[in-house]
């Protein structure tokens, strides 16, 4: 029986694994720079070095590629937040989180833009994941941070907005790169400056 591998759940062949990876890589490139509607299967196919029908042999449609990508990268994206250790030194943990997020924005700007695009459009294909995936983790870490504040180890502020501000300031360097690159053209200086500034900003906020 000849059936598309996109529905089959049996062991994927070497070719299948290679091509699905190829497609998802290409899709990340295209979706992150063009948005969901701006991206075309032809662009993804060309970027992947495959034909359009070939791509539809591995995925049931454009939407499935996009959703697969979002699901797959969600884990990577939330990892730094999970890694915060409730028993570590609060300032170290939070400043460390800031640095890890900034590193991710610099090293994985496509992933950042992929999510930014999706959220900007109202998260039409990710809404459930926000409630089911992000929200619980968010609430959990809010509690951790609140405890840290109550223990007096860091200054009191609103933990939720603290996280928002960390996300906003770090992802800004990926999502608004077209702007920051015009305003601060020297890449190395910009990245070093960002690190130093965010360190200072959040250290001052958190130090009791």
């Amino acid at each position: 029986m000849t059936e598309s591998p996109s529905t089959t759940k049996k062991a994927p062949s070497r070719i299948q694994q290679r091509n699905r990876t190829l497609i998802l890589d290409a899709a990340l490139e295209v979706f992150s720079s063009q948005g969901y509607r701006g991206a075309t299967l032809d662009q993804i196919a060309k970027q992947a070095g495959l034909s359009k029908p070939n791509i539809l042999y591995y995925f049931n449609g454009k939407q499935e590629i996009h959703v697969t990508l979002l699901n797959q990268l969600m884990t990577v994206w939330l990892d730094p937040l999970k890694e915060m250790n409730p028993n570590g030194d609060p300032i170290k943990e939070l400043i460390g989180y800031v640095h890890r997020k900034l590193d991710m924005a610099i090293e994985l700007p496509r992933e950042s833009r992929l999510f930014a695009n999706e959220i900007l459009q109202g998260a039409p294909r990710m809404g459930p994941h926000l409630s089911a995936g992000l929200k619980p983790l968010f609430d959990k870490q809010i509690i951790v941070i609140t405890r840290w504040m109550e223990s007096g180890k860091i200054a009191r502020s609103d933990p939720a907005h603290l996280l928002f501000s960390i996300w906003a300031t770090t992802q800004h360097y990926a999502d608004f790169a077209a702007q920051t690159e015009v305003l601060l053209p020297d890449r190395q200086a910009r990245e070093d400056g960002a690190r130093a500034f965010l360190d200072q900003l959040f250290t001052k906020l958190l130090t009791p």
Copy 2:
């Protein structure tokens, strides 16, 4: 001679003014929520209550509507930055700027998202305006802030990244509303919390 008013530069009639406004309003709604490629002339037409050909009577094409919108709103968007008074009290000026930007994000989320969409895609239709419009103003205000720091009236930090962090944290509430609304559903609490937090964040940073 019958000619489209989009090329004519003569005094626009009452109807012309009304309909161009109607179209630009509709276009703001659609472009900001769907992005440039995601927006269709049919959507804009429906939103404006006009027919598609009628819309193309007033504008020469989709791109012209978009560019007109960007140009028109650029002024409004940069206004708060211009308003910073070099002779005022530095902390008051900067904190005031933060509050004005946050108010704009809350009151004009569509404008914020319109620009966010455009920058995210690499500013393909706005690139020149960044260099020609924003850059000079940015550089000028960097100098003002630098002087404030040198005078000892505010703590030293990187002025460019200070502005980036103000933009990032305030616009976050408009651009990532789909996310913040899931994580902090109570609108009033969210907005009040944002104001208080950003006030605290930047006051701590700037106080010498």
